[in-house]
């Protein structure tokens, strides 16, 4: 795509002389109707050909920053823009989105809502058509872009039927076709399963290698970008906090953790060791797995006691509350079985993670637990009730189900009514409802918002309201569907911490996730699903040692587990799960 000069359009001034692709000059921006600025005094210069990772917690201003890069701010999202944004020599204030979109291409986090055509080739062609490119040139560019994202052969497919990773690849191709200088990818992998993330990451890697293209990626998975990015820019509350070489940024791992970010496990480990004053930490924190291994390879562990903690809790077999027997399930619109014969039991007070790629049957399985889906074959009983014969509202008293997106549920004027709704729905006595609402809202730290509209809360707040409305019914089994997908790490943790607290009070927790770090940290039992079957079911400590099973299902153990496995010869237990355990182990074995 780089060879032809005919890709330039007369409206775009050629500014090959400019060194900077992007310049933010003391930019402050407030969305119309909002008093609080989304960006505060942001100054940023990005050189041509640079690859930059932008990290930061929710509401840090990352997305607003991206929107400035092609003129969406201030031309689509209106508001008060102070300072100047210069994109390849063009001031965004005096240009239009249509013109700027040829210079900076944006890819968004949600693949489904950026694909608008009825075939992949039409989708990719859309941008070039809008720019008035000739028919032959469009065909050439479409073929080239699909080649670049390795999606040749998908031309006639309906975009909505592709997997998340494939959709995102098409979304990137449909930006490539406009041949922008700058690629801006706003959380391109946050809604994807592990396979999809891998697919998109490898496309990003290819893009970053092209020297003449500038790439800006917003992402929470710092681990994947450490070696890819030339710089990491950390934002918080509308400001740029750090803007340095990735290695330098990661020396400040504690600061990142305080902001609720997820630095790589190895940097968290060494920053903890440094704080504990353990000598082997050296002066610089290693940032990759290999570097960490080099640092620790001369150590030997004589007392690998850690793995005995968090014991194999399944051995204390308890009352079975969910019993799945030979369940097969087929969606009415499909010819294939989404579940291909599932047999499993879940006992009281277990903490179970269900993992696997999208389409492996995870959600289909848990939707059977409260009767949202009824088995096509086989049987399922929950708390002794046959789910095929019990209505969902009846089961919802026993089984709470927390959805990934709280906005599917919130509709009331106040948080109080929202929580009260489910109590009313299940026929809870009127005089006893208020104390329950008060108690639940207090527990989830939303009691100060009881009389405000849920719509005014941020995503984390809305999620707490949705959870509160489920917890109000006091279910014994809580199913949490993807608390980590599309969320920032702080929000996922918030949900998981509530789950852990409930678990300690005797509740049973089943959750679905793509985040292996969360599995290692919270779950006791792990179930790996693949193509409608259970591939592995056992304690999490054993799960991450099943390298063959993980490989077969394209899953990767958390970085800290992989580090421990590399250090097996040095006596590190391969069943180790968390940074915390590794710190403790090294602490006990030093000297």
């Amino acid at each position: 795509m780089e060879k032809e000069s005919c890709l330039r359009f007369s409206t775009v001034p050629s500014l090959a002389s400019s060194v900077h692709s992007l310049e933010f000059d003391n930019v402050t921006f407030s969305y119309a109707g909002s008093k609080k600025p989304a960006l505060k005094n942001v100054s940023l210069r990005i050189k041509k050909g640079e690859s930059v990772l932008i990290a930061g917690p929710n509401a840090a201003g990352k997305t607003t920053l991206c929107r400035c890069m092609n003129g969406l701010v201030p031309h689509f999202f209106l508001g008060d823009l102070e300072g100047n944004v210069i994109i390849n020599g063009i001031n965004s204030k005096s240009s239009r989105i249509g013109q700027l979109s040829q210079v900076a291409g944006l890819v968004f986090d949600d693949p489904t809502s950026q694909l608008v055509c009825s075939s992949v080739e039409d989708e990719v062609a859309f941008g070039a058509e809008n720019l008035g490119v000739s028919r032959e040139e469009i065909d050439r560019r479409v073929a080239e872009s699909l080649e670049a994202v390795r999606m040749r052969g998908y031309e006639r497919r309906l975009p909505q039927t592709l997997s998340g990773g494939e959709q995102q690849a098409v979304a990137i191709a449909s930006i490539m076709v406009m041949d922008p200088e700058i690629f801006v990818l706003d959380e391109p992998t946050s809604n994807l399963d592990p396979i999809g993330s891998m697919q998109v990451l490898s496309i990003i890697r290819d893009l970053a290698r092209k020297e003449e293209k500038t790439m800006i990626v917003v992402s929470h998975s710092i681990e994947h970008f450490v070696t890819l990015a030339d710089r990491i820019v950390v934002m918080n509350e509308g400001r740029i906090i750090l803007d340095e070489d990735p290695r330098e940024v990661l020396q400040k791992t504690e600061q990142l953790l305080d902001m609720g970010l997820s630095p790589p496990d190895v940097t968290t480990l060494f920053s903890r060791l440094r704080r504990e004053g353990i000598g082997l930490a050296g002066d610089k924190i290693p940032v990759t797995l290999e570097e960490a291994y080099d640092r620790l390879k001369n150590m030997s562990i004589v007392n690998p006691s850690v793995s005995k903690q968090k014991a194999l809790s399944r051995e204390k077999r308890m009352d079975v509350i969910v019993r799945v027997k030979g369940v097969r399930f087929k969606y009415p619109t499909s010819d294939v079985f989404a579940l291909e014969g599932i047999d499993l039991e879940i006992g009281k007070n277990e903490f179970v993670a269900i993992i696997g790629q999208n389409g492996s049957g995870k959600s289909t399985l848990v939707k059977h637990f409260n009767g949202l889906l009824k088995p096509t074959e086989g049987s399922l009983s929950v708390f002794g009730l046959d789910t095929a014969e019990t209505p969902v509202w009846e089961l919802s008293k026993k089984v709470g189900y927390v959805f990934q997106n709280p906005d599917l549920q919130l509709f009331n004027y106040t948080v109080r009514n929202e929580i009260d709704f489910s109590l009313k729905a299940i026929g809870f006595p009127a005089d006893k409802r208020e104390p329950v609402v008060n108690a639940v809202s207090k527990r989830l730290n939303i009691d100060q918002y009881l009389d405000v509209s849920p719509g005014t809360l941020d995503k984390g707040g809305r999620q707490r309201v949705a959870i509160a409305s489920v917890l109000a019914m006091n279910p014994d089994l809580l199913v949490i569907d993807e608390p980590t997908t599309g969320q920032d790490p702080a929000n996922s943790r918030q949900v998981m911490n509530i789950a852990r607290e409930l678990h300690s009070e005797g509740k049973t927790i089943v959750f679905i996730t793509h985040n292996m770090g969360i599995v290692a940290e919270y779950a006791e039992r792990g179930i790996i699903m693949l193509q409608g079957r259970v591939l592995f079911d056992g304690p999490v400590r054993q799960l991450f040692q099943q390298t063959d099973v993980l490989k077969e299902s394209y899953l990767e153990a958390p970085q800290i587990v992989r580090l421990a496995q590399m250090l097996r010869k040095q006596g590190f237990p391969s069943a180790l799960l968390t940074v915390e355990e590794m710190v403790q182990l090294i602490n006990e074995n030093r000297g």
């Binding site: 040829q102 608008v116 075939s119 939707k367 209505p391 969902v392 919802s396 509709f411 729905a425």
Partner: protein, 286 residues
């Protein structure tokens, strides 16, 4: 789900036919069936359509799903025509024509053979129109519809907006289904239980989140297409696909004209009314 917006892939005559003659075929057949009120005339057209479907290797059953989905409407429509149809009203004046009453105990709503013949024709007519619409949608990609609209001088932004809307329908259906699931998990009993008042009360539980999600999606789509240069210079926009009429399309146009002209003449000459089948039946003494 009733009407599914999807294209069944294929290489048949109907698939290859340009969207413009295909639309014309739809319009002309709709006009032609309005000319006729006789079940044999209308039935012949339906049989021809079914044969065409088979010849194009499209599942008749799948296409007919829309007819099944509209069955309630069809029954009501037929009952109304059965009783209120001009033939029936006229014939019922003569008591010897009356076969039976729809409400026998009160001798209300008499039914005559003329009424049955007439309403059968109208039922078939209705079936043809919706069946044909589904057949066109099954064989015409939305892009082709857009191109046809643009060629017919519709504003491109309107045509493209329509196509994006079409493509978004399945996504929106998914959202609707997720909302129903999510609210059921809070003890909501859905729209199917209770009396009318309960149902009305239950509506916001579903509609408010759907509305808000709809707005959010609309904004996301707007942002995504802006970022791909949608508003850049829509008058100068190019189209990857070229639609050009070929000999088959022209041939089809000729047939369409003959069909329209022939039917008009028949209609003008008074052929094709329900009396044709009725007199056949009468002659056979049924």
């Amino acid at each position: 789900m009733g009407l599914r917006i999807e294209v069944i892939p294929g290489e048949s005559y109907l698939h290859k036919l340009d969207a413009r003659p295909k639309f014309l075929l739809f319009l002309i057949l709709t006009v032609v069936v309005i000319f006729f009120t006789d079940p044999i005339y209308v039935g012949t057209i339906l049989v021809a359509l079914l044969l065409l479907t088979r010849a194009c290797k499209i599942s008749v059953r799948k296409t007919a799903q829309i007819v099944k989905a509209s069955s309630l409407l069809l029954v009501v429509y037929t009952l109304i025509n059965l009783v209120m149809g001009p033939g029936n009203v006229e014939a019922a004046k003569n008591p010897s024509n009356i076969l039976f009453y729809l409400i026998p105990t009160l001798n209300w709503l008499p039914v005559t053979p003329q009424g049955i013949v007439y309403s059968t024709a109208l039922l078939l007519r209705f079936v043809i129109v919706i069946y044909l619409l589904q057949l066109v949608l099954f064989t015409t990609p939305v892009v082709d519809i857009v191109l046809a609209l643009v060629k017919w001088k519709f504003p491109p932004s309107l045509a493209l907006g329509t196509s994006i809307g079409f493509n978004f329908v399945p996504v929106f259906m998914n959202t609707a289904r997720s909302i129903i699931d999510a609210q059921s998990c809070r003890g909501w009993r859905g729209l199917s239980s209770g009396n009318l008042v309960d149902k009305l009360k239950a509506l916001p539980v579903f509609l408010v989140p759907l509305f808000l999600q709809g707005i959010e999606s609309a904004q996301k789509i707007a942002v995504a297409i802006e970022a791909r240069g949608f508003g850049y210079n829509i008058g100068k926009r190019t189209y990857r696909r070229e639609i050009r009429l070929n000999s088959v399309d022209y041939g089809t146009l000729v047939i369409e004209v003959i069909l329209l002209a022939g039917s008009t003449i028949l209609w003008y000459a008074g052929y094709g009314t329900y009396m044709f089948t009725y007199s056949l039946l009468a002659r056979m003494k049924i």
